[in-house]
């Protein structure tokens, strides 16, 4: 059984159709890249999978481990193992990062019927993970993402990924706003989390990110559909010739 199956998905936002029948299958352990020009519907796809309000699914299906994802609230999807790394992680003043991480992790564990972490066990786990990602302890004491640089915000997303251990990670434009060093650190973190059981869907506008996170399969999106899929060489091809050729195909 595929980990994620998106079948003929049609999505509207305020009367305008953004996705016009999108198909995508992701198996355990695979790394997929979704590329495409601005407005092709890449972020819409990631939002609909995560359950963001404001999108109307008019047709099609999303199955996650064979279950209907669209019937689940966002928090249920998270507990089942869907993780969206946000393009622009929000700042939450007054909520300490540590409190947020512990509350979220325990909420997911509770939803799965697992025991909640005690504070000492949780602290131990966070310390291990944050150390491996080069995240200073001081960052964890601050409000969630408050005053974080672009690179720190993305590292905080990777930290959550490492803590929550999802089976599907969707990285929405992870490279936006990052310089090359910050990009490398974040990508190293993602690569360290890749495993035969965990799939990654990397959404990006540029080929650059794919030098660091090497995909098994590359999809090109245009005007709300996947118009071409291929191996990692497809990304290089796009870099050379641009998206224009697909605008007509769609």
């Amino acid at each position: 059984m595929a980990l994620l199956e998106v079948k003929d998905l049609k999505v509207r936002v305020e009367e305008r159709e953004i996705l016009h029948g999108l198909n995508l299958t992701v198996n355990e352990g695979e790394i997929h890249a979704i590329m495409g020009p601005n407005g092709s519907g890449k972020s819409t796809l990631s939002h609909v999978i995560a359950g963001k309000p404001g999108y109307e699914v008019t047709d099609g299906q999303i199955l996650f481990k064979g279950e209907d994802l669209l019937e689940m609230a966002p928090e249920e999807r998270a507990a089942k193992g869907v993780f969206l790394a946000f393009q622009y992680p929000v700042e939450i003043p007054g909520v300490a990062t540590m409190t947020f991480l512990r509350t979220a992790l325990n909420a997911q564990r509770k939803a799965r019927g697992e025991s909640e972490y005690s504070t000492p066990d949780f602290l131990k786990k966070v310390r291990e993970v944050s150390k491996s990602l080069n995240i200073p302890q001081d960052m964890l004491k601050r409000g969630v993402n408050v005053g974080f640089s672009g690179g720190e915000k993305k590292r905080n997303e990777v930290l959550q990924m490492a803590l929550f251990e999802p089976s599907l990670c969707i990285l929405d434009e992870m490279d936006s706003g990052l310089d090359i060093d910050a990009l490398r650190i974040a990508a190293d973190g993602v690569n360290a989390l890749h495993s035969p059981k965990r799939a990654m869907v990397v959404i990006t506008h540029y080929q650059r990110l794919l030098n660091y996170i090497v995909p098994d399969i590359v999809h090109v999106m245009s005007k709300g559909r996947v118009v071409k899929s291929g191996g990692k060489e497809l990304a290089l091809e796009l870099e050379a010739s641009g998206y224009a050729q697909f605008e007509d195909a769609a």
């Binding site: 995560a50 359950g51 963001k52 309000p53 609230a73 966002p74 928090e75 999807r77 998270a78 507990a79 969206l84 946000f86 992680p89 929000v90 939450i92 003043p93 007054g94 909520v95 409190t99 947020f100 509350t103 979220a104 992790l105 909420a107 997911q108 939803a111 409000g143 959550q160 929550f164």
Partner: protein, 434 residues
């Protein structure tokens, strides 16, 4: 002459309230004369209503209707129930002064321990010689009523230079349903003294009661005072409290009010910064639900130059709750270099909730820095979605954001232990929502 008898909405003669209680009101003949005069003032004015500017958003005639008869003094059974409640509501390490249905309960209080550091007496005793205790410079009807009817309270005198080794907690307990308690306390903090005063208002099984409390607090120069008020009355109770505070020079006052109960509540504070170089931090949180109405009215009077005042107030409103914040900063002509700021924010969790924020600045000096801000709005959807996408159910995601929202006011509490205590109250309120 044909004098119509003033009647309440329920048809009872207003004057009955006083005449039926008169035999039980303590005080020398001169005190009784002061009471009579105060009651006449109340009778003339009646309960405040919307056409009185200060009460525009809290119309007691519409919200309360009438003042209930004076509560009977607590009997042995009531005192027993009160004793159990005191155990629950006492703050660890604090010295307790307990008032049950408006009567001081010495057996439930730590008078002996307190008397080693503080001059202590009850209002009942003090009124045998001092009629001034019932006088204030206010023309407010509910304060006049308090002067007329106050049965008891505490009179504390903290001598110059005293550093209190433990906080003082004044606990008001209501055991009698459908009755009123009138209390008044006087607290004097001497020069260079350091004190923490906590006031708690709680119900002991009683319903539909009314509280009318007044506190007159004067603080000398170079003092450091924390004043925390925790109002958790029964959901159908009424609590109208009035504070009159005078602050000396180079003194710090850290005030906090937490409202988590009462159908109708109002805290009206009148704080005068009367000595130069003082710092006032006045903050509060109202957590209201159902049809609760919570009003915080605060007048900060900068009477002299070089004082700082900071006000941070937050209201969280669920269901059809209604919060009122009226904040006035007055800067007198001589009060140059005044630095006064007030920030009020209301969070509406329901479309039917209502917040009325009315900040006012009255500035008569030209070299000052004053400002205010007021906002009202819902929780941020993008923050809620982020938390839900990380596995938090809706109510839990809301709770985390609400905690952060009220945290901005709670973090102004200087004392670590009391701050944690107040955070705990907010957490329990949020848990009840879930």
């Amino acid at each position: 002459m044909n004098v119509a008898v003033a009647k309440t909405g329920k048809g009872r003669a207003v004057s009955d309230l006083f005449t039926s209680a008169e035999g039980r009101l303590p005080g020398s003949p001169s005190v009784i004369a002061v009471r009579r005069e105060a009651f006449e003032t109340y009778e003339r004015l009646g309960l405040p209503h919307r056409r009185i500017e200060e009460w525009k958003y809290t119309d007691l005639r519409a919200l309360v209707g009438e003042v209930l008869p004076l509560s009977a003094a607590p009997d042995a059974a009531a005192l027993k129930r009160a004793a159990d409640a005191v155990k629950v509501h006492a703050i660890a390490g604090a010295r307790k002064l307990v008032l049950v249905d408006g009567v001081f309960a010495s057996d439930l209080s730590d008078v002996k321990a307190l008397a080693s550091e503080v001059g202590f007496g009850t209002l009942r005793e003090a009124l045998e010689k001092d009629a001034d205790l019932l006088k204030t410079a206010s023309t407010d009807a509910v304060i006049a009523l308090n002067a007329a009817m106050a049965t008891d309270g505490v009179v504390l005198s903290i001598a110059d230079g005293t550093q209190l080794s433990a906080p003082i907690q004044i606990i008001h307990l209501a055991t009698a349903a459908s009755a009123s308690a009138f209390t008044r306390s006087r607290v004097m903090v001497g020069k260079g003294a350091r004190a923490t005063i906590i006031e708690s208002f709680v119900a002991v099984g009683a319903k539909a009661y009314q509280v009318n409390d007044a506190v007159v607090l004067s603080i000398g120069d170079n003092a450091d005072v924390a004043h925390i008020r925790l109002m958790d009355d029964a959901p159908d109770a009424v609590n109208i409290s009035s504070h009159f505070v005078t602050v000396g020079a180079n003194t710090k006052l850290n005030f906090f009010n937490m409202t988590t109960g009462a159908a109708v509540s109002r805290l009206q504070g009148f704080i005068t910064l009367a000595g130069e170089g003082s710092e006032l931090s006045a903050n509060g949180v109202n957590l209201l639900q159902k049809t609760e109405h919570g009003d915080t009215t605060l007048v900060v009077d900068h009477a002299v130059p070089n004082c700082v005042s900071r006000e941070v107030f937050r209201a969280v409103l669920d269901d059809r709750a209604h919060s009122v914040f009226q904040g006035r900063i007055i800067v007198r002509p001589d009060a140059q270099k005044t630095d006064g700021k007030m920030m009020i924010r209301a969070l509406l969790l329901s479309d039917e909730a209502e917040a009325d924020n009315k900040p006012e600045l009255e500035i008569f000096a030209d070299d000052v820095s004053c400002g205010h801000g007021a906002t009202a709005g819902a929780l941020d959807d993008s923050l809620l979605f982020y938390l839900k996408a990380r596995g938090l159910p809706e109510k839990q995601a809301q709770a985390l954001l609400i905690q952060a929202f009220v945290g901005e006011a709670i973090e102004q509490i200087a004392d670590d232990g009391l701050r944690e205590h107040v955070i705990g109250i907010a957490e329990r309120w949020l848990e009840r929502r879930q």
